[in-house]
């Protein structure tokens, strides 16, 4: 039942923008006790990943009902801009993996700061102006199908991936999956950061991908679904948390953290300046940053943490951060460059020309 829903969302996202309100996927978590308030979460985050966190949060605040609205990143961004301008009623807290969009929103004055005992826990690179906090630690990984990718083929760096596609173009033609960076904000953010981290290998990789008729899907789960379905052998730039969640139910999925560099994304949380109940939003934000929230996140939702070891079965360097392989995407003004209209248009045009210009 997950897949059709996601397809629908992707279709919606890719459809020409209609003038009406942007619809997200809604789910209500009723209060377990007498309802004293309702927290509205607008998120571009898989609900299944957030569910344990929301439930644990509600066990701390039994009087709170939580309305969880799930969008794709770009829709969330548009909805937030509308809410900031006062055109529609926004959420009490925004959660998005596309942190560059959150940075843009904060830069435009659409966020309100929050300071508490828990917010100081956020690492320096995951806090901008006390307005945007990164509450997860998600390495960006390659995912492959163990059934069809022989062990010697498994790429352990971006270079090796490019080489693999060059040396065995026939094996992987039409069998490599990645995001549509136009539809997915996080896909664009990751590609943009790839191009900045290693411009040369990024160029080679894009060129190789273009020759292998890459399968482009809107979202993480859809890409993972294509692997599970046997349509795709290897996926590039998948959020580690989703990949690991999928691998727990499907042992055929292999996960690799590239050893040349691994981008690390911290999912952003932001309290909009126009939030109807900012106090409730801040409660959830504090919970997500608190040790308890992080523990639940590590065990049930996102599986990786900055200081903890990698989960078993994940192929990656032992000390991701200390070795310097892990490259956190710093939440800060530099992300504004990614959000520049011309930048974005040019980057996506180039990408599409290469990937789709088969």
């Amino acid at each position: 039942m997950l897949l059709p829903r996601l397809v629908m969302i992707c279709l919606l996202a890719m459809a020409p923008r209609s003038a009406g309100a942007i619809e997200g996927d809604k789910e209500l978590f009723p209060a377990s006790g007498t309802e004293t308030g309702k927290l509205v979460v607008h998120a571009a985050t898989d609900l299944e990943a957030m569910r344990p966190l929301v439930l644990d949060f509600q066990s701390q605040y039994p009087g709170l009902a939580v309305e969880f609205v799930d969008y794709v990143t770009n829709d969330l961004f548009r909805e937030a801009i509308d809410a900031c301008a006062g055109r529609v009623q926004g959420g009490d807290i925004l959660l998005s993996s596309s942190v560059d969009q959150l940075v843009r929103l904060a830069n435009d004055g659409c966020a309100q700061p929050h300071n508490s005992r828990d917010t100081v826990n956020a690492p320096d690179w995951a806090n901008w102006r006390d307005e945007i906090f990164g509450f997860t630690f998600e390495p960006i990984v390659f995912v492959y199908d163990r059934r069809v990718v022989p062990a010697k083929d498994v790429p352990r760096s971006h270079e090796e991936l490019a080489d693999l596609l060059r040396s065995k173009p026939d094996d992987y033609r039409g069998r490599i999956g990645t995001y549509d960076i136009e539809a997915s904000g996080v896909g664009y953010l990751l590609a943009f950061n790839d191009s900045r981290q290693a411009p040369t290998s990024y160029g080679r990789l894009i060129e190789s991908l273009s020759r292998t008729q890459t399968v482009i899907r809107c979202c993480n789960n859809e890409v993972l679904g294509e692997i599970a379905a046997g349509n795709v052998r290897l996926a590039y730039n998948v959020l580690g948390s989703y990949a690991y969640a999928a691998s727990r139910t499907n042992s055929d999925l292999g996960i690799v953290l590239p050893r040349d560099y691994t981008l690390v994304l911290s999912r952003g949380a932001m309290i909009p300046s126009t939030a109807p109940n900012p106090v409730l939003g801040k409660l959830l934000l504090d919970y997500l940053l608190s040790p308890r929230g992080r523990a639940v996140s590590r065990e049930k939702s996102f599986f990786f943490s900055e200081n903890g070891p990698l989960p078993a079965e994940v192929d990656g360097p032992t000390s991701l951060m200390e070795s310097g392989i892990g490259r956190p995407i710093r939440i800060g003004p530099a992300l504004l460059a990614a959000q520049d209209e011309i930048q974005r248009r040019t980057f996506i045009e180039d990408w599409k020309r290469l990937i789709e210009g088969r």
Binding site: N107, G109, R129, P333, A337, A338, I342
Partner: protein, 463 residues
């Protein structure tokens, strides 16, 4: 008490504090301005660097102006970590190429062609610092000017400025405090001569009418001169008064002697018992009057002698013995035991024989007349560096609360009848003139009441 204004110290300290506070306020204001200028300069460089980088990224491709926003420019601006960034790129036709189309720090962008233009403005409700740079771009349609406007909020600047200002404030406050403490100490030290003058005046003997000999700062000299002038006039008045009294006493003595003689010539046998009693009273009163007149004369004599006579070494034993002999009458009550005990060693003081004898005689006379009932002891002893004449009697003594008063002229305690009140005054003045003093020792169990005169001994080598 006389009413007084606030002390010189607090007046000075207050004024110094006001001056220091004004100075500190000026310094802090200046520090604030400097800090703002410094913060602006530091962050203006970042802003300008970012603007240059962005201007460099304007390129003409396919006869179109294109722009690739360099993330490094934002990383540069990101050094001011909490500040928001706005930018706008304007193409030669005046259209906004990218960025926030509504930033316009000035209507005339062309001013930035010569040099980058900085400005402060409010944008989206917050204060921002902007820089505008221009870059000439050439395409096939000709050469035109493109502009890059970069704006940054001022949180980091304000934080830096307030941090710098805070440090300056701490420094200025510390310096002001030090200056205040230093000034207070300096004022205290400078005002010390005033206190010293006050102490000298306070400790002065009320009978001392010699001029003040204190060395004082120039500013206090008028006061000392005035005080001395006043003392001199007072001294002259006192002398005049004393001379007048002495003259009067002398004038009275002659008729008094005649009166005594006349009284003694009255034949008592012919008188009635009442008259005889009246005569007895007249005789007593006359004798009292004679003694009082004598004392007045003695007093005048003593003062006169100190004014005119050079002091000479005097043997304390001798002078005490002479006074003892002169005072104790031959007709003394046989029941009264009187004794004189000289010191074994020679006690030499610098003094005037006559005055000294008169002083001791007055003390002995007082003891005989008002104190002793059956015993009188006169002793010369050595008491440390002092020679001491002790006159002790077995009478009730003088109560301690009167000790200070009995040495004043004409003081008479109510319990004592017939006291002229000049005896102790003469003794006290003589002792004072000779650098000594008169003292009392209360009656205790086993020890009688004593009056003593202490006088400094002449050092052996000098004598």
């Amino acid at each position: 008490m006389t009413a007084h204004k606030s002390s010189l110290f607090s007046r000075l300290a207050r004024r110094v504090a006001v001056v220091l506070a004004l100075g500190a306020a000026t310094l802090i204001t200046a520090a604030w301005f400097y800090a703002r200028a410094a913060a602006d300069e530091a962050y203006d460089r970042l802003l300008l660097g970012a603007a240059f980088q962005m201007a460099e990224s304007l390129v003409v491709a396919d006869d179109r102006l294109s722009f690739v926003l360099p993330p490094s420019a934002f990383e540069l601006l990101g050094l001011a970590q909490r500040d928001r960034i706005f930018y706008r790129v304007v193409d030669p036709s005046g259209e906004t190429l990218t960025g926030y189309g509504d930033i316009s720090p000035s209507a005339d962008l062309s001013r930035s062609r010569a040099a980058p233009v900085f400005a402060n403005m409010a944008y989206r409700g917050v204060e921002v610092r902007t820089v505008t740079t221009a870059r000439a771009v050439t395409s096939q349609s000709g050469t035109g000017w493109a502009y890059v406007i970069v704006a940054q909020t001022t949180e980091a600047r304000q934080a830096l400025a307030s941090e710098l200002t805070t440090r300056a404030v701490i420094l200025v406050a510390a310096m002001s405090l030090l200056a205040l403490i230093g000034s207070a100490l300096a004022i205290r030290l400078s005002l010390r001569p005033v206190d010293q003058l006050g102490d000298i005046l306070r400790q002065r003997d009320p009978q001392d009418l010699t001029p003040l000999a204190a060395t004082v700062p120039r500013e206090l000299l008028p006061f000392v001169t005035s005080i001395n002038h006043f003392i001199n006039r007072l001294d002259e008045r006192v002398r005049l008064l004393q001379r007048y009294i002495a003259d009067s006493a002398h004038q009275i003595r002659t008729p008094l002697t005649a009166l005594t003689a006349q009284v003694s010539l009255i034949n008592e046998d012919t008188l009635s018992p009442d008259d005889r009693r009246h005569l007895e009273r007249v005789r007593n009163r006359t004798a009292e009057l004679a003694r009082f007149t004598n004392q007045l004369l003695n007093h005048a004599m003593v003062i006169h002698r100190f004014d005119s006579t050079q002091l000479a070494p005097v043997s304390l034993n001798d002078v005490a013995r002479k006074a003892f002999r002169a005072t104790v009458p031959i007709t003394i009550d046989p029941d009264m035991v009187v004794s004189f005990e000289a010191s074994e060693e020679e006690l030499t003081v610098l003094g005037d024989l006559l005055s000294l004898r008169e002083a001791i005689a007055n003390v002995i006379d007082n003891a005989l007349r008002h104190g002793a009932t059956s015993r009188l002891e006169v002793r010369a002893t050595r008491f440390g560096d002092l020679g001491r004449i002790e006159v002790c009697d077995d009478g009730p003594g003088i109560p301690p609360e009167d000790w200070a008063n009995v040495t004043k002229r004409f003081y008479s305690s109510r319990t004592e009848k017939g006291s002229s009140g000049l005896g102790f005054a003469i003794a006290s003045e003589v002792a004072f003139e000779l650098g000594g003093q008169i003292g009392f020792r209360g009656k205790t169990a086993g020890l009688p009441f004593c009056v003593y005169i202490d006088l400094p001994l002449v050092k052996e080598d000098k004598g």
